[in-house]
Amino acid sequence: MLDDFIHWLGATPLSQLIQKVFWIIPTVQAVHILAISVVLSSMAMFDLRLLGLAGKRSSIASLSRRFMPWLWGALIVLAASGSILIVGEPKRALGNLSFLLKMCMLAAAIIVTLGFQAVLKRDLEGGSADLAPAHGILAKITGLLSLTLWVGIAVAGRLIAYTG
């Protein structure tokens, strides 16, 4: 089934175009990496703050307001550029173990982020100036999980080129 889809996708005119024009794939990959640098740097700053390792002068709420728009904005760019890469080389990504692992980690990272943002929002709406002190452990777990997942996503992404 997956093989049929890969075959069909690879035969579409758009895929053929991406395969034929030599500069599309490297250029889109460069855009993809630039967007990853935005995500990784933003999330590293935010997660290290959650872990209490950096940026302690700023509140978690203010850093969240600062970095979350960059995360979601860059994720849109990543989804768009990633889709182009998949359409251009469906066989390379779909069915590739690294790609599958990357998508699972991506889903987990998004769920962790949305869950934490929901908790933070509720605390702020409840009149707290920042994340409620009772959620300190949750912040540390979130920071560690998120950081690990984003690093894993970047590594798995690079390994797509090497695994089948």
């Binding site: 490297p26 640098s37 990784l40 970047a154």
Partner: protein, 161 residues
């Protein structure tokens, strides 16, 4: 002379290990990408502040002091991992246009940063707290952003030639 150096580099034990191993190159390459992501991401934060696009409430001097240690640490990792990758096939990489162009842009980015710190940054206490940054700071941030986008693009291109 330089060719001899490249050949010697390729014959060093780490270089041979990397080119013979099936996982060392991808592993080091992953570290290289992670380090570059942090270098470019952290520099972008400063560049966007200099361009007056982002973080306008943060004093420029303070932002740079906070971000720069992360940039330099990541840069050191990127250079070290990059040197290892380069050594595994030095002659080939040196012969490619994207590699040479990337090194050129890296040098220009370094010079741009030096120029910024030697001139405009000296008076950062005078202008760094206000929202409209001086024209020279904007130019410096814009040039830096453009050069680093070029570095990443050319870096990815090395794998295609």
């Amino acid at each position: 002379m330089f060719d001899r150096f490249l050949q010697w580099l390729e014959s060093t034990p780490p270089a041979i290990a990397i080119s013979e191993s099936s996982w060392l190159f991808p592993g080091i390459e992953s570290v290289h990408v992670l380090a570059i992501a942090l270098v470019v991401g952290s520099i972008t934060m400063v560049d966007l502040r200099l361009l007056d696009i982002n973080l306008r409430e943060r004093p420029v001097g303070e932002l740079i002091a906070e971000v720069l240690p992360w940039t330099w640490t990541s840069f050191a990792v990127a250079v070290f991992s990059g040197a290892l990758l380069f050594s595994s096939n030095a002659t080939k990489y040196w012969g490619t246009v994207p590699f040479r162009a990337k090194m050129l842009l890296l040098t220009l980015a370094g010079l741009n940063m030096l120029a910024y710190h030697a001139t405009i940054h000296r008076s950062v206490d005078l202008w760094g707290r206000r929202a409209p940054t001086p024209r020279a700071a904007k130019i410096s941030g814009g040039v830096s952003l453009g050069l680093w986008i070029g570095v990443v693009t050319l870096g990815r291109w090395i794998g295609f030639v």
